[in-house]
Symmetry: C2
Subunit: 294 residues, 2 copies
Amino acid sequence: MNDDELLPSWSEGAAKTAILHFAGSVTGPGGSYVPPAERIAAFDNDGTLWCEKPQYVQAEFLFRRWKQMAEADPAKAKEQPCKALAENDRAWLAGLLGHVPDLVKGAGEAYEGITVAAFEQAVQEFFATAAHPTLGLPYTKAGYQPMRELLDLLHARDFLVFVCSGGGRDFIRPVSQQMYGIPRERVIGSATTVQYRDGELYRTKDVEQPIDDGPGKPEHVWMRTGRKPLLAAGNADGDVPMLETARFSMLIRHDDADREFAYDTGAEKALAEAKERGWTVVSMHDDFTVVFGP
Amino acid sequence: MNDDELLPSWSEGAAKTAILHFAGSVTGPGGSYVPPAERIAAFDNDGTLWCEKPQYVQAEFLFRRWKQMAEADPAKAKEQPCKALAENDRAWLAGLLGHVPDLVKGAGEAYEGITVAAFEQAVQEFFATAAHPTLGLPYTKAGYQPMRELLDLLHARDFLVFVCSGGGRDFIRPVSQQMYGIPRERVIGSATTVQYRDGELYRTKDVEQPIDDGPGKPEHVWMRTGRKPLLAAGNADGDVPMLETARFSMLIRHDDADREFAYDTGAEKALAEAKERGWTVVSMHDDFTVVFGP
């Protein structure tokens, strides 16, 4: 199969051409060849591989939990964050969503003390039952089909592809193989620490430092792989430091209100830097023939 | 090639039989089959994959650095740890070696602020020039040949093999492919954090928590892979928690003063627990036909 057949959901255009040229140049004979061991690719998750609007998928997961906690314990229902769920205070919740560290902290506290296996089961139950509020798709189908094709292309070219998410590592791992063809050990993300006791591993509420956002992204990629990425993809200002460390950098632009969402908010710095540095900007409107898979 | 031919430096005996039986049972047809994605193997490094006596390899690396620092700066030569090197105070240094957290801390401070690339170069220079003080081998040849054969067997059986070291992750990565056939992204270990600035990554003196020893070992394996190990190998009390989480656990016993070193100190708890739990104890004296490679 040639490269062209591997990206069927991409329109012909500058973005597709640049991607195929880069993938060809580092894997084919010639001066730009890079050995397979050094072909690290790092992809942001929210807004780069799956849909992050109207709010983060993990926020839905967390809100469910807080709602359950409010229902189970009247005392909790009087305090934030459970109070906001009990009262459906969307303004309070929207404020929280604007601040990743608070979300990561909240996620840690909501599942403190349970085993890692019990947490995985909660995540799997969520993905088995929850659906995207406006797209009418289960969340496991709310990944971008053209990006999945790109992941497959990179895998076929012997890249080691990592998810590098500001969101929860342990929230993505249970679905990464199914959604992205990426095994769980190649999912990097923000996380709480775990604690070993008597043969078992328990979640704590302590957030692992740094969180995997902003400068934490290239720091995490380096800590986990011992390399800078050869290729990196993101969609927001929090991805800029990671994109700065890669040889080939892609920025996904959300400009398709009909098929997905249109927003540049939170990507202002990224778009400016993409222009300045010549990063490949991918327009979901122009470069994707379809957004979601069948 | 059958399994037998893959472990040529192992004597026939209970240890070899148990290893081959386990590797066969989880990869062959039958009720014990485990899919490749779940075949995580975790190996301690010091004393399990390479020689750790008369002192940790990384301690030699660190002592070199402290000696250089003492020579370059007379003020530093008057303070510990450089003072101990300037005065060749082996008793002080021996005391330090008994406490892994202090060693990890010292390693962080000794290389604070340099780029990760500069640190890698320092490690490579060390391995290119240093030799084991009593074995008469370069350190890159002071890995155990039978263990390398076991790693190769596991790789051939589609295991994902990780080094999980209480010692420095970034000290092992530059030689892990050459010595063990293990790529750098599969080296887990204690580390300092790194800091991103302007496209580059710098070492800090801050030690990443937890350090990768004792309970930190299964915690690290889980954080890095999202799984407990299917197979784990160690040689000391600090490996016990990791061995407790594995389906098949191996304990290397150092009982060959002629070819390597003989010591049970620091492995008392491990040996007792191996007996209690039926772990496979590997006697270097009885189970290894050779210890080091050609």
